[in-house]
């Protein structure tokens, strides 16, 4: 009884430390995980057969120009579906860090520049990029048609095999998307705390480390980190200039969102095109209305913070090796490095050593401890 009372008292003291406004802000980062909702633009979304086909395709190296690069070359299950490299290496080194595909289904835009508006369109990008997998519709369609098991599984998902190579390729991308939609991070120490706070569960509140609590308070308060890293996935899904240089090397820059919007509009695979399976175009609102402005130059998508501790290195170019490096950037960022005509959000946080420690402690509670993914044992060939 004494122990219970002590716990209750301690929890009440801690809970009182969070204002109503802080509790509302913290509650907005859940619940987790979100319920699955099929993607209406992809008729294979949520289909067990499509997930099985997509899983095989994801690890299939013969879908690359040299037969050695699969999606899993950069999206490695044991590394939180990223690769640990500063900049990804497919057939050649590319300009950006590999974004994890964990929780990718909850995004509005895909890739650092949001050049794609669906997960299936995004899945085409590395296949077609000469530096990544370097194949084309003809090669993809030929491979799938000639592979008895994959062809059988393709027909099982989509019906007859299309005669058009491009349509076969889009089906491959939709199966890849169906598989990636299943890759979700699990519950974390933060989620347990957040739910306990919402329910007023004193023991649950008390179980969350004090340094993480202080870091969380800074995150939703003084730091205003939740202006961009908002919601259950800790991202607003949009694009910002965070003062990370967009120069790639001598004479080359990464225009980020500015080029991303132009690529999106030019793409025949966007949600306004013929490959969208949803006649109502119910998920195409963003594509219809997206605004292109000069300030988009050098903007990159706000990444999710879930499983952040498993996702190093950081930023669009992988230029920050550790969480502390990232915090150091935000602690010292100069407004002079931002667009003069851009948004006025960032300011140097001037973190103390203890604030940095607390933020790291909090951010580490957003990870689920590691991948639980296990490849399905190879089922009998499809006939």
């Amino acid at each position: 009884m004494k122990r219970w009372l002590a716990l209750l008292l301690a929890a009440a003291t801690q809970a009182a430390a969070f204002t109503d406004e802080e509790v509302r802000a913290i509650a907005a980062h859940g619940p987790w995980p979100p319920a699955f909702a099929p993607d209406p633009s992809n008729r294979a979304s949520g289909s067990k057969d499509a997930i099985e086909l997509g899983e095989r395709l994801f690890f299939e190296r013969r879908l690359s120009a040299n037969g050695a690069v699969s999606c899993s070359r950069c999206h490695i299950p044991e590394r939180n579906w990223t690769d640990g490299e500063a900049r990804a290496i497919g057939l050649a080194r590319v300009d950006r860090n590999t974004m994890s595909v964990t929780n990718v289904r909850v995004q509005r835009w895909f890739g650092w520049d949001g050049a794609n508006d669906s997960l299936w369109a995004q899945s085409l990008r590395p296949l077609l990029d000469a530096r990544e997998m370097g194949v084309d519709a003809s090669r993809i369609a030929k491979f799938v048609r000639q592979h008895a098991d994959l062809a059988c599984r393709y027909r099982r998902v989509f019906g007859a095999m299309p005669s058009e190579d491009e349509a076969v390729m889009v089906g491959v991308a939709k199966a890849l998307a169906a598989f990636q939609e299943t890759l979700s991070s699990g519950r974390t120490a933060f989620d347990e705390f957040r739910d306990a706070l919402v329910k007023g569960d004193a023991a649950g509140i008390a179980a969350y480390p004090e340094d993480a609590k202080r870091g969380l308070r800074f995150f939703v308060g003084k730091g205003s980190c939740n202006v961009c890293h908002v919601g259950p996935a800790f991202t607003n899904g949009e694009f910002h200039d965070t003062g990370i240089p967009f120069f790639i090397e001598q004479g080359r820059v990464d225009p980020g969102r500015h080029a991303g919007i132009q690529k999106l509009r030019a793409s025949e695979f966007n949600l306004l095109g013929r490959y969208n399976d949803d006649a109502r175009r119910s998920t195409a609102t963003g594509t219809t209305h997206v605004r292109l402005e000069h300030r988009n130059f050098g903007e990159f998508r706000t990444p999710s913070l879930r499983n952040l501790a498993l996702s190093a290195p950081y930023m669009h170019n992988g230029s920050r090796e550790t969480l502390r490096d990232v915090l150091d950037h935000y602690s010292t960022v100069s407004p002079d490095r931002l667009h003069a005509d851009g948004e006025a959000i960032l300011r140097a946080l001037n973190l103390t050593a203890r604030e940095t420690d607390d933020l790291v402690a909090f951010l580490e509670t957003l990870s689920d401890g590691g991948a639980t993914y296990r490849r399905q044992p190879s089922a009998a060939d499809c006939r």
Binding site: A28, V230, T285, G286, T288, V290, R291, E343, A344
Partner: protein
């Protein structure tokens, strides 16, 4: 001098007519917000949720020659990342689609009206969480 008096009378009449129209400005279908200027009223209804596309239904009285809707975060010095499209429904009523508030905080709805060769902005703040 006579010309000036006529202009003043016309302006006063416009204000009176505008105010009369403003009083009568209605948007059927439930509770709505009203913004008034000396010459126009905007009655609008919206239920924005952070990070989700939404539409704004509104009426403008008297009906302007043109209308545009946007939104702005003054403290952050930026607007939305999307351009709303306004569709006239007839009778001074409209529907704007494609809005999205991508950040929590203080936003402003901005209705830009064009009438009699002039443009005016009617603004109303709201907090998004």
């Amino acid at each position: 001098m006579e010309k000036r008096r006529a202009a003043v009378r016309a302006a006063a009449l416009s204000l009176v007519l505008g105010a009369g129209a403003a009083l009568a400005c209605e948007l059927p279908g439930g509770p709505a917000q009203t913004i008034r200027s000396p010459t126009h009223s905007v009655v609008y209804r919206a239920a924005p949720r952070l990070g989700e596309h939404f539409a704004v239904e509104f009426a403008v009285c008297p009906a302007p020659e043109g209308v545009r809707v946007d939104a702005w975060m003054p403290a952050h010095r930026h607007g939305m990342n999307y351009v709303p499209a306004v569709k006239a429904l007839g009778g001074g009523r409209y529907r704007a689609e494609g809005l999205l508030f991508h950040m929590p905080g203080e936003w402003e709805f901005v209705f830009v009206l064009r009438a009699h060769g002039a443009t005016q902005r009617l603004v109303r703040g709201l907090r998004v969480e």
